[in-house]
């Protein structure tokens, strides 16, 4: 991968992922291979304030969020996605990441969450992740 191309230069991506190592990988991959800026958070009010302020260009969202709560209740990525779409002040693509490698899940999750794209974990290749994110931020 050519590091000078920087397909995500100038973009800011919010990573919501309960596994710290996976979040770290996403950040490194997106920053280094994509040239964008990343924010990692599992805190729902914090996530919402970033979104409401129009500070992010895309949310990379894990389906299972064991550490996140909203209004005293556990919240998963699907519910959070709907909330994000509701609160966002501008077009906000959401890329849903999940480890559920079962057939049928993809459609089910996409439909129920209103997310724009789907990323099946594990992802080892940063260029795949970057390209997926780019295609959602700038659909051509």
């Amino acid at each position: 991968m050519n590091r000078d191309t920087q397909p995500l230069r100038g973009n800011r991506i919010l990573i919501v992922e309960d596994n710290a190592l996976v979040a770290k990988f996403f950040r490194m991959a997106l920053e280094r291979a994509g040239g964008c800026e990343c924010i990692i958070s599992e805190d729902v009010p914090e996530i919402l304030s970033h979104v409401a302020a129009g500070e992010v260009d895309l949310v990379l969202l894990d389906v299972s969020l064991t550490n996140s709560e909203w209004k005293g209740q556990a919240i998963n990525g699907i519910e959070l996605c709907r909330l994000l779409k509701e609160r966002s002040t501008r077009r906000l693509p959401v890329l849903l990441a999940t480890a559920h490698a079962m057939s049928g899940d993809r459609e089910r999750f996409l439909e129920s969450s209103g997310a724009d794209g789907y990323l099946e974990k594990p992802v080892y290749d940063s260029s795949v992740l970057v390209e997926k994110v780019r295609s959602l931020i700038n659909p051509s």
Binding site: A20, A29, R32, E42, T66, N67, A99, Y124
Partner: protein, 443 residues
Amino acid sequence: MPPLGSIGASGIILRMSAPEPTRLPLESFVDEMKRYLHLLPEDAALLKELRPLMEKYLPEMAERFYAQIPHHPGASRVFTGGEAQVQRLKSTLQVWGRGLFNGVYDEDYAEDRYRIGFRHVRITLDQKYVISAMGVVRAFLMEKLFDEFPAREQRLAYSQALGKILDLDLNLMCDSYFRATMAHLHTLNQELEQASAQLAEANAIKDEFLAQVSHDLRTPLNSILSFTKMVLDGFCRDPEEEKEVLRDVFSSGQLLLRLVNDLLDISAIEAGKLALDLEEIEPRTVLDSTLPLVAIQAASKNIRLIDETLDQTLPTVKSDEIRFRQVLLNLLSNAVKFTAQGYVLVRALHNKHERHLRIEIEDTGIGVPIEKRNVVFEKFVRHDPKALRGVTGSGLGLAIAKRLVEMMQGKIGLEAGPGGKGSVVWFTLPLATPMSTPEAPDR
């Protein structure tokens, strides 16, 4: 499949568990049998007439009967009560014989006959013996009828009536076998259904376990692969960052290994394949070799590790040294893992009355809510995940500890720490000294 009773050449030997029906709906059965056998009121009247005549033959009938049946090799199995039992049975048989000449053959009569049948079933006497015994009785009574009424035309009506009532009795007796068989099959069916439901449940648990395991195995494996790829792709800024990434790879590998080891342990325990080497153990040795392993972990988090047992003379316990150490290490590292600040403390209590040593590990960590204090010992149940940011483990540690402690005849439990903060996890191990040995005076 569970055993379905033994099926031999003589048919199904019914189990003792076959329940006896309380009150049978016999009215229609008796009516139908009476119609079928042409057992008419006239017959009933004739049989009643026979009663005073036949009474004197009943003792002989019983003698004749029991001269034969209990000595059959197949039947002798159930006639084990000796002469006393046979005497009792003889008088019962006379009561039965008297009943034939009652003159009233209603559902109470049938009920009575059924009870006799069920008794035979309960003592697992084969139906074929009952049928042949009825044959013996029939031949005997017919012979006596011949003595009473030498003239054929006089005898005929009586012998027909007697034949009919004996047929009815035989039918009732056989039907009682049938009903007992049905009741038995019903019980077996219920047992099968229950077993099948239990299997389905066990299977569901297994599926869940498998899904959980594969998810838990994949998570560190994915980290290993993705971070290795990161380094290979040259995405690290400098050798320092490369090292940092490789440290993540390494710790993921360690987690993976721990998980695999724990899985092997738990499956060996659950398959009953984990053999313990129980011997007399000095707890001091185990404590001294285990605490330093957690000390590093604790020091890196600035947690004080306190050993309150240092000044104590600890009694020897009966346990497997390796497993004792495994349990202790497990509980200690758990305590350190879930404690952000404060201390982790080990204490030992010698309970002379219950003859065990209780080891307690107290921490000032996140604690476990009361409703979760039992479930944390189940597989893959972790503490409140909200408080668990960055904490990783197999989710099997406490489950293994519980099983190991129980295999060593001890107990394990979890309570709140002092003032309701943190937690105290404790386990007991039986003392090594046997009860009979006089104890040395305590110093």
